[in-house]
Amino acid sequence: MVGSNNNPDAKAFRITPPRWLLAELTYACPLQCPYCSNPVDYAKYPSELSTDDWKRVLTEARKMGAVQLGFSGGEPLTRKDLVELVKHARELGYYSNLITSGYGLTEEKIIQLKEAGLDHIQVSIQASTQELNDHIAGTTSFHHKKEVAHLVKKHGYPMVLCVVIHRENIHQMPQILAMAEELGADYLELANTQYYGWAHTNRDLLLPTKAQFEQAEQIAQAFKEKVAGKMKIYYVVPDYYEDRPKACMNGWGTTFLTIAPDGVALPCHSARDLPGLDCPNVNDYGIQEIWRDSKAFNFFRGFEWMKEPCRSCDEKEKDFGGCRCQAYLLTGDMYMADPVCSKSPEHAVIQQAIDSAGANASLATNEKPLVFRNSKNSKAMSLVDGKGV
């Protein structure tokens, strides 16, 4: 792994090939989740790669060694060529995953995708009750999602259920777990909201209190032990309540390759917001050139870019200084230690965010409404320069 080689010259690192490819097929989505990780100004990028472009991207990345493939979006089911792309991916030997809201997924489509060689389907559900699910999704979708979960299971896919956790649904943790059990989930992803994109815009309304988080974590932990061997739980921690940052992307440009709907290649799905990276487009360059030689993918490879306290920190090979996008979003400096880290001189911004969310906890929803993810709001936010908040 790149991170284990402490060489000051980024170019001298042995560049590892990508293993995971995230194909964001489209920004179109019938849902409007206020925590969506798509860029808030996605309306600025309406163009989409053609079927042939995607096939070429899949072929080239596979040749380099990518093997895990996620079809995501937006809602990937809105692409008419999804079955064709799945088939192509299977022929290349990818292990492919459809990351979907389930909206628009029929039994016929599930069968077609299976025949085309799709390996698994990850269905997201917003809450354990119809009222809250439909409110958060901004769309009536609860019953259909449950139906889809049953069909996924019925047709022999491993069933992966994903629930994004935040202040509006965290109190439902016991019911969410019961729902996962009832639906026969093989994998349950409990993803505490990560505050980028729309979630950052809505952070005051989404960030739970520490007490809420700790209680929910305890419940999830007990459940994990109870279902061990039957259901696998992936628990994504809310890093605002940690004192060390996550090892973002397993190290920049080491493992993950994201391709945005318009063909821009990203070292992480928020990287398009970082200044001066000049993220390359697959319309202009081959995947190998992008991965090995582009400025963007080499920008934070290795350790040479680091400032203090990361530069001389003995934990830098563990967390790579945390997330670059979070450093930029919260401190305005993308070379800074991730402010989640208690060693960061900017760590106080995290407590400020927690306090601000706490102060907003008692507000009625009409006093400070959630900003839903839709093109009207995105167009409005595209007009605001910079970070779009």
Binding site: M64, V67, Y95, D119, Y157, Y187, E189, G229
Partner: protein, 84 residues
């Protein structure tokens, strides 16, 4: 003894780029060394433990593999890679 079968919800596959077999499943990948891969390739739903041991001992012209293979298959069962 029951025949052992590789899990239908996992995939065992040779990776040219890595020059090794891997197990693929939702959100994960396990890289296998050669002996683990040899054992799992025998889990085709037709052979039981004794037959797998027998086959591999013959293939590698050796004896006394029972304990190692049994231990590995227990791990594989716990991880859901195989079914009995």
């Amino acid at each position: 003894m029951q025949p052992i079968k590789f899990s239908p919800t996992h995939r065992l596959q040779w990776e040219e780029a890595q020059q090794k077999y891997v197990i693929l499943y939702p959100e994960g990948m396990v890289e296998l060394n050669q002996s683990s891969a040899e054992i799992l390739l025998c889990c085709d739903g037709n052979r039981n433990l004794a037959q797998i041991v027998n086959e591999l001992e013959q293939k590698f012209a050796t004896t006394g593999l029972t304990n190692d293979i049994t231990a590995f298959l227990e791990v594989a069962l716990q991880n859901g890679w195989i079914q009995q």
